[in-house]
Amino acid sequence: MENASIFVIVVSAILVNNFVLSRFLGICPFLGVSKKVDTALGMGMAVTFVMTMAGIMTYIVNELILVRFHIEYLQTIAFILVIASLVQFVEIVLQKVSPALYQALGVFLPLITTNCAVLGLALLNIQFKFNLPQVIAHSVGAALGFTLAIVLFAGIREKTELSDVPKPFKGFPIALISASMMAMAFLGFTGLV
């Protein structure tokens, strides 16, 4: 993965190694905020924003502090710290600088504070030994993949809401079944890159 081109990294993160559907990260917001396409899109935007920022920040923290002092085993806890404070910081700044954007993303930001998809991304970036441009490409790709998955899923859920689902399957059971079918469908992208 070290020498992969930017394009390959982006396509791989969106389709082949989709964070939700093949890495199974970020399932909580995937099921929780996918009742309406509008909110799913808002969540996707917020995740994109935070993932990109967090990817870059954790990379810098890792390179400058953890690697230098040979304490790489503290990655997980350090990254949680970075991500949580970053999201808080972004929320505060956004509220002041752009109230319109805050209105659109505001409710979703605290939800992402401890999201495993963001932490997983930060850890994977280090695992794959990416450099900074690759980190940015991977973060944006992963976030777009998340957005794609959650928006598609929200569309499916809006339809199933109206269809005649057998009573025991109503609500979350049918949502989980359609999610699993989506994951199987995304398996078809294996071997693309």
């Binding site: 304490i71 710290l81 970075v82 404070s85 910081f89 700044v93 509220q95």
Partner: protein
């Protein structure tokens, strides 16, 4: 044991934490958004039901609207006068509590009163039944009685009686308006809580046709219009309509209505009593009484005939000596 590793990890992680903490503290000061403290206070005074009855998405949004002056202080239908008074105190204005309202079903067409055109076997929902030629009842303006209103009521105030007619408990109803929106027949209306007479019919068809379908329907005969001493009830579009501002709850219209389409709570009817010590015998009350229930000579103490009195309260308003009580 390598002591250096411990020091390194503690210092760098602690340093990071300190740095981020300081950054956040700085950001919260530097980028602090001035929020009107009254918003928080108003929000605390609200019932926090987040029912949306006020027309805003949740109590917080309503609180913001109150502080910016968009919403009236008494705009919360759930909290009632008590809540309005608290909010008004925070905002420093006169509560002038708006008259509390309740939802009422404007139909008495229960099974047996209103004819059924066919047997409906389907989903137990008014919305679904309404799609099949407007429900099974012969009257197209009648309560279908499957309780779509009861399903949406967050306060359990609506009961579907055995006779397929929705009934709203005025004590539980907080006038959030959800049932008004969902009713496919649009026959649930908001009525002032102190209004005890309503035209419990919504049929806009001509009298003869209505009478064939339902025994208790308004046939637009106009008897109520002529009987009302206060010009408060009028027949419009083949349906009697009460002007709640003019209505005094005298309930004469309900007594006169030949089909009993006007429903009144006669137990809530008031009666005037004259306080003998205060009465100076000015005869004003005798003159204004629309039903001739007050008797008395000039300069003599007047008497109310409780049998005739309809409790309209006109004499109480006109009495120059405050000698009349309504109860």
């Amino acid at each position: 044991m390598d002591f250096k590793i411990i020091v390194n990890s503690v210092v760098s992680l602690g340093g990071l934490g300190l740095l981020f903490g300081a950054g956040l503290a700085f950001a919260s000061k530097k980028f602090a958004v001035e929020v009107d403290p009254r918003v928080e206070l108003v929000n605390e005074a609200l019932p926090a039901a987040n029912c949306g009855g006020c027309g805003y998405p949740g109590c917080m949004a309503f609180a913001t609207a109150v502080v910016t002056g968009e919403a009236p202080v008494n705009g919360c239908p759930v909290g009632g006068a008590e809540c309005a008074a608290k909010v008004a105190e925070i905002m420093g204005v006169d509560p002038s509590a708006g008259e509390p309202q309740v939802a009422k079903v404007m139909c008495t067409g229960a099974l047996g009163v209103c004819k059924e055109e066919f047997q409906y076997h389907g989903v137990d929902s008014c919305l679904a039944a309404n799609m099949i030629s407007g429900g099974s009842k012969a009257c197209q303006f009648g309560c279908i009685g499957f309780g779509s209103c009861a399903d949406v009521c967050p306060f359990d105030a609506i009961v579907i009686q055995d006779n397929h007619l929705a009934w709203i408990d005025p004590d539980k109803c907080v006038a959030c308006g959800k049932c008004v929106d969902i009713c496919p027949k649009h026959i649930i209306h908001m009525v002032p809580k102190e209004q005890f007479v309503v035209v419990a019919c919504s049929n806009l068809e001509k009298g003869g046709h209505v009478k064939k379908n339902c025994e208790e329907a308004c046939i637009a005969c106009g008897i109520c219009e002529r009987a009302c001493p206060f010009d408060a009830i009028h027949v419009e579009n083949n349906l009697a309509t009460i002007d709640y501002d003019k209505c005094t709850n005298c309930m004469i219209c309900a007594e006169k209505c030949p089909t009993k389409a006007i429903v009144a709570q006669f137990d809530k009817r008031k009666t005037a009593t004259i306080i003998d010590d205060k009465c100076i015998g000015c005869t004003i009350c005798k003159k204004v009484c629309p039903v001739g229930a007050i008797e008395g000579e000039v300069k003599g103490v007047h008497k109310v005939d409780p049998e005739k009195c309809v409790g309209c309260g006109l004499c109480e308003q006109k009495c120059p000596r405050d000698a009349i009580n309504m109860n």
